[in-house]
Symmetry: C2
Subunit: 209 residues, 2 copies
Amino acid sequence: MSDIPAADTETEVNRLHAEKMLRRRAARERMMAEKTEERGLLIVHTGPGKGKSTAAFGMAMRAIGHGMKVGIVQFVKGAWTSGERAVFERFPDLVEIKALGEGFTWNTADRARDIRAAEAAFTEAKRMIADPSFKLVILDELNIVLRYDYLPLDEVLDALSAKPGGLHVVVTGRNAKPELIELADLATEMTMVKHPFRDGVKAQKGIEF
Amino acid sequence: MSDIPAADTETEVNRLHAEKMLRRRAARERMMAEKTEERGLLIVHTGPGKGKSTAAFGMAMRAIGHGMKVGIVQFVKGAWTSGERAVFERFPDLVEIKALGEGFTWNTADRARDIRAAEAAFTEAKRMIADPSFKLVILDELNIVLRYDYLPLDEVLDALSAKPGGLHVVVTGRNAKPELIELADLATEMTMVKHPFRDGVKAQKGIEF
């Protein structure tokens, strides 16, 4: 930034830049041309960072924007909040939400009750997965339920394996089981690089809830 | 899962579980009680994985759900698409979008034009940041523009440092500059664990766009 290049150097920089961009565009177009299969994806958002449920929420809104019907099962209460609900309520024909978690896992000390709630949520999840009117089903915080062995992993993997070909399913929550990632088409890990709680900032409306 | 524990073992498992959960709840409540500062956050979504813009979109929708006004500047065209637009158009009083990127960086070979577009987007970003009616401003794919040195990093950091105390700003895009992460209150890295393009699946409506 300190030296201003001579005009011919600047021209050369621009020429090299243009060549690099054209190569990338060509590579991307070749890659996209090879991708011909249309199918519903099994997507996992995991990791200790933020954005797992929020990105699923963004996908739900995007699908709604396309007129696609969305089902959401909340396995743990608290991840989806008043901000989301106010928006989803604007699209009553396109969104069905089943909130069956009894509270954050660390807010309950009753394991048997948590298991019953997880089973009820899984029943709803299976119903939505089998219902062809849904194009996207979000199983929010299912990973937490699986981590605590509140549901049999094999039964969950069976249900996900049996999903209709065109249906997208998104599973969120930290500590995704390796078997689930193995089954998934797309898995993203959100990693916390920096978190404001370290610096004494409290949770913010519109950001955290 | 193979052995069914005797009743007293099951009771002991539940008792230990309840104790652990109560300890976690107490720790979380202590932590939350210490967090007293309310302030707007500078948030960065970076990394090579998916969900950076989608999570920002989810945050925008959540803020809208709270009646908070949201400004969005698209530094690179393509990250926000027809699905998002259809949803945002339902809330015309609460969302202002400025799309100034001229196309994916790898879709243009004209560096001078990209720089002009980045500068125009930055002017809009500064206007939104200074306008107290906005509660959340999303600078989508700003990191890409910074990575290519299309804007002076110092000027961008100055503008972000000068944001009003109550305003939340979200910056997205891979390859965030270390200086930006240093300035941020919260930074999340999205890492790709598994991607369907590897397996020959093409981009999907409602998922990718």
